[in-house]
Amino acid sequence: MLLADLHLPAFIDAHLEWYVAAALIVAGLAASGLADLSRFSPTRIWAISGVCFQESIRRRVLWIIPLTIVGVVVAVQLLNPIDEQDAVRQTIKYALFATGTLVVLVTIILACTNLPKEIDNRVIYTIVTKPTTRLEIIVGKIVGFARVSATLLLIMGVFTYGYAHLRAGHLQSKARSRLETMSPTDSGRLSLQHYADYGLLQSKTYARTADFQQFARLPLPEETNRWVNGDDEQSFVIGFDLPPALFPDPGTGQDNGGLQIVGQIATEYFDPNREWHPTPFPGTMPGAAEFKGFSLKEISRPAVTIEIQGPDKYNLIPSTEMPGGGFVELTGSKKSEDQQLLTLTAVSLDRVYQLPENRRRINVKFQGNGPIRYGVSRGAVHLFSPRLKSLGQSGIIVSVRDADGQPAWPTFRGRELVGNQEFKGVADPAKGSVGVFAFRNVAVPSNDAPVPVELRCGIEGSGEEISSGESNTHAIVEVYNLKTGQTSPSLDLPIESNRTVFFNIPAEAVTGGNFDVRLRCQAPGRYLVLRNALASNPALQLVIGQESFAINLSKSLLIMWCMSLLVVIVSIFCSTFVSWPIAVVLSVVILLGHWGAQQIGDTNATGMGAQVAKDMFGVKNPAEAKVISSAVDSLSRTLNIASKVLPDISQFSATEDIERGITIAPHVLLASIKVILAFGLPLTILAYAFLKRKEVAP
């Protein structure tokens, strides 16, 4: 529990591993003397490493390579990929997985067994009796095994490159021949064409969209309002920063006085034929047929549901705390008149007071009801604070502002799922919603070649489709260039759920790097499910650069080599103080420790203790529950701190990007090097310190 009770300053907590590493290096060197460091000889290290390397080769580690290669080839035959790209992706994945596994297993066994065996069979006498330091022995062995892993990686890398090329070439030629007989309307044709044209071994650099918003109709520059559809299909969100003066100091006996949401929201019916105003019926109720398919229960009067979200866009004030559950009928507001929409109580706002001063932002989300469009302009909604008014201020809190000082536009969104937005398809895309992917300051290629774009989204059906005949879903895409003011011709793309569709847009459409990609969907009764802009793999990405697969593979192998280096260091460190079987287990524990601690620590997030007490132990006594709860929470904190001083092997992400055809970014390489420095270096010094004190020869 000691670690759990440790409350470190934020700047130490953020970089704990570096402080621990520095402390270990200094302590290790200080304890063992700096003399060995001054005698450090690269020549001797190379000689020792050469012996390790020769010994490993003599132990026939290279014989495992053909077996691994055969394993990969067999495993690849068992694959059942979705398409040609998936086949190559899985081939690379299996080959690199096998490579990584081979290298880690070989290095962990070699490095863990080497030192204990040399001590047992007294081979080490021949080294320690020579003028070598223990530091040179440790570093020499690390370099030796690093050379072994480099050799393995080199051979497997050549195999991976050759095999992936062979498969990609074969599948590309098959794709070309399949195109000759494939229908132009087939939803897979665009992708197949892309594979045939660009090949299947790619390393792309993507430009990410800054934002994705959707509107009931395309926002025009001359329009003061932007529109969303009702029927709970779309919404808009307006942010407000609450001033510190709103919240009185505790103990003064005052409260924050609550807030009123005031604004003008415009409305229009998007299908006049469906408009229906209820009137009292004399006699019996008429049948539904008389309403042209309109349900009598349908809400036809303009109304919005208001939600209050916190700074992280999650719900902050539950609807039960809001008048009418947040449901507000609009009173036909005219442009010049504000309507008081909703009042937030002082008690509800106290929840915001718990947040740090710089994070006291609330986001007010408006979702329209019925077959009605809702329009909002910049600054159309504001808050009014009676408390600020009583303090002699205007009492008005305006929405957050843009860089130019104007009230920012609200954020316009579709129905939100976890990490996704829904976008409704219609029979006539010209009359449907429009989604806008905003690209800003993109470093677009300077040549005139068309720019490849990838779109991938889920498709949800309503089940109302006609049984006979095909019913493809089409994405209609065009690009609006902010610099030139030009809109590119529309592209009609047949798409499939969760399959990437590839297409090109003209270079002039992206000139300047600031442009909007507009999306419409032709598929009545269906919804596109679009991953959010901030997701690791957003719905729409622009390819702005290509790199050779060989270079990307080299980067991947380099990351693996860094990982093998860490494995060697940890293994040698363990083998300096325990026997080799224990060293193998301990090495695995150290390498996986961070991941395990983090998993358990994350699971036991705040409040988990109380849940464990309630669900697992069924404790009803509050005192007992508190004991269990605090014990679990302490364990969770301890694990989180412990995880920081263990190497994070997830930083060696050697395969994720390359198998998805993405160029491995320099920061991924740097992350793995940082782990080596933060954990490899201190463990090397510790290994040296242990070996220095170990009696290995009489």
Binding site: L78, R89, Q90, E180, P184, I495
Partner: protein, 583 residues
């Protein structure tokens, strides 16, 4: 004092001994390996001799699962567990990349668990296919489920669970689901091989017009013209070729068999393998199996191990094999396997396995009946608006063609032939279904099958009447001698139809209390046949009026359906200038 001398072998002797020792070990291993291979071959031969058609062709992609398990040692369990978790979570997240690879590995690692295979086939056919938005991709995902089943079937033939599940996917998923129209159309077309049509250079300019007249959609026309321009020939499905044939023939134009490509480059199935030859007969490889043992009693059914053995009695299939037909064949195989080998199905009772061939034959017949109605609508040039699945299609196609006079010229004579074929197939399936019900009753005497039997009999009469009526229409009104006999036959069958549907309604769509209250004294559901036709009709009319006035809703849709068939038969009799037997 004795002196002991220790003699050390010289280093060269030790090396030589070691060398020979290693060589001996290598030779022993090699000999053992050869002996094992030989013994394995021998035992497999024996196994094949004892269990016909057992075992699969050994390929790397169809690696013997036990070898795989051996290779993986103790890691098989953890690996399978990981694959299950991972594949199911991928399915939930709708991320299907490498999902199928994981399923394939699970199949190889757990070959002996039928419950695994049943789940995975259902998983693919139902859970995964619905994640596709486009019907073509849904369809190939369902084919993938069938492919999975066939791989298991090739390793362990005649497994009741696997055979039954393949039948279930064909019959219920492809033949009866929401998208059945699309799936059935694909299966019908794909049951034939393709045809390669050569086009001489001088006919190329006309090709677009020919294909347009043949009703080939523009996107496909473009592909065909491109192929013909490049290679002098293009390939198309048999049914499309049949439409093109009258429009494109003459010197240099040839139509030849072409085996379609069933898989894409990554090994994913794109379409079904052809099951019929160009004349609509089942391929011999799918019906010819092991010869029937001489000592088998003549009344005992025999499973010869062939894929589509039981469809032989229904051929030819000039318009293709429907998924229901294929599915029924598997259900029948399942039933015979149960009787021959006494296997127990994991999920279904013995009763269900036994009665499914009969009940599904009835359903297949009803589907053919519906297809016949649609073809008849086309034949008369009548169109029905696109409908969604909530609308009862049958209700919309039953009556529009009924009042068509005998003298009406067909708008599409081929469609009339198509309708006649469907009605004739209904008769064949009905005859066989009645036999199947008899068979089931022998095994399960307590089963009450009268409702099924009565509706099959009524449907059979109706389709015989429609078949004869349409056939007569295709013949010359003056010169053809067969025409009067056909018309007379139609009159007889339509009259019978009216009686049978009225009997059906009174017997099965009127509850016992109502029957007891309003049936004439001495008349019960059991002796309704004793009534003369006019009496029966009067009773039906009276009962209907009573139920209408009392707003009886439980059987209303069934009664309406029976009334429609009655009215259709009545209207046809009017066209035939015949006196309905009810008068």
């Amino acid at each position: 004092m004795t002196q002991t001398t220790i003699e050390y072998a010289s280093p060269s002797t030790v090396t030589a001994q070691r060398h020979w020792g290693r060589l001996l070990t290598a030779v022993v291993i090699l000999v053992s390996f050869i002996a094992t291979t030989f013994m394995q071959h021998l035992t497999q031969e024996q196994h094949h001799a004892l269990v016909k058609s057992a075992g699969s062709q050994s390929t790397v992609s169809n690696l013997n699962s036990f070898s795989l398990a051996l290779l993986l040692g103790g890691l098989r369990g953890p690996l399978v567990m990981m694959l299950w978790t991972s594949s199911e979570s991928q399915k939930q997240e709708k991320d299907l990349e490498d999902f199928d690879s994981k399923i394939e590995l699970i199949r190889l690692l757990q070959p002996e668990f039928d419950s695994v295979h049943l789940f995975q086939m259902w998983n693919k056919a139902y859970n995964v296919s619905v994640q596709m938005a486009n019907k073509a991709n849904k369809y190939t995902t369902i084919l993938d489920a069938i492919e999975y089943g066939r791989k298991i079937d090739s390793q362990r033939p005649n497994d009741i669970n696997i055979v039954g599940e393949i039948g279930h996917i064909f019959f219920d998923k492809l033949g009866s689901s929401q998208e059945k129209e699309y799936y059935t159309d694909r299966v019908l077309k794909e049951s034939f091989p393709d045809e390669r049509i050569t086009v001489p250079a001088n006919r190329l300019p006309d090709l677009n017009a020919v294909l347009t007249r043949a009703g080939v959609e523009p996107a496909k026309r473009e592909i065909m013209i491109g192929q013909a321009t490049r290679t002098g020939a293009f390939t198309t499905g048999k049914l499309t070729a049949d439409v093109i044939r009258p429009l494109l023939n003459g010197p240099g134009v040839t139509y030849t068999f072409s085996n379609p490509i069933a898989y894409n480059a990554t090994g994913r199935r794109l379409r079904l393998d052809p099951m019929l030859d160009l004349n609509g007969y089942l391929l011999p490889s799918l019906v010819d199996g092991e010869p029937r043992p001489a000592n088998l009693p003549p009344d005992q059914e025999w499973n010869n191990g062939a894929e589509l053995q039981y469809l032989k009695t229904f051929e030819p299939f000039p318009y293709g094999l429907s998924p229901m037909a294929i599915g029924w064949n598997y259900y029948k195989r399942c039933q015979v396997i149960k009787d021959q080998t006494h296997q127990k199905h994991l999920q279904l009772s013995e009763l269900v396995i036994d009665n499914r061939p009969a009940i599904n034959l009835k359903l297949w017949g009803e589907a053919e009946w519906g297809a016949g109605r649609l073809a008849e609508m086309h034949a008369f040039g009548l169109k029905i608006a696109p409908f969604d699945n909530s609308v009862d299609e049958r209700a919309r196609v039953e009556l529009p063609t009924a009042p068509m006079p005998l003298t009406t010229a067909f708008a599409d004579a081929d469609a009339a032939q198509h309708a006649i074929y469907h009605y004739d197939l209904v008769v064949k399936t009905a005859d066989r279904a009645l036999l199947e019900f008899d068979r089931h009753q022998l095994h399960h005497a307590s089963a009450d099958l009268t409702s099924h039997r009565d509706s099959i009999t009524a449907m059979r009469q109706m389709c015989m009447a429609d078949r004869d009526y349409l056939t007569a229409m295709t013949l010359s009104a003056t010169g053809d001698t067969k025409r009067p006999a056909l018309l007379q036959s139609a009159v007889t069958h339509y009259n019978q139809t009216m009686i049978l549907w009225e009997l059906l309604m009174l017997r099965h769509y009127v509850n016992d209390q109502v029957a007891a209250a309003i049936f004439p004294r001495g008349i019960t559901k059991a002796n309704l046949e004793s009534l003369r036709s006019p009496q029966l009709h009067a009773l039906t009319f009276g009962v209907s009026s009573f139920l209408e006035s009392h707003r009886e809703a439980d059987t209303e849709s069934d009664r309406r359906e029976a009334e429609r068939y009655f009215r259709r038969a009545y209207q046809r009799l009017m066209q035939l200038n015949a006196t309905p037997s009810i008068q």
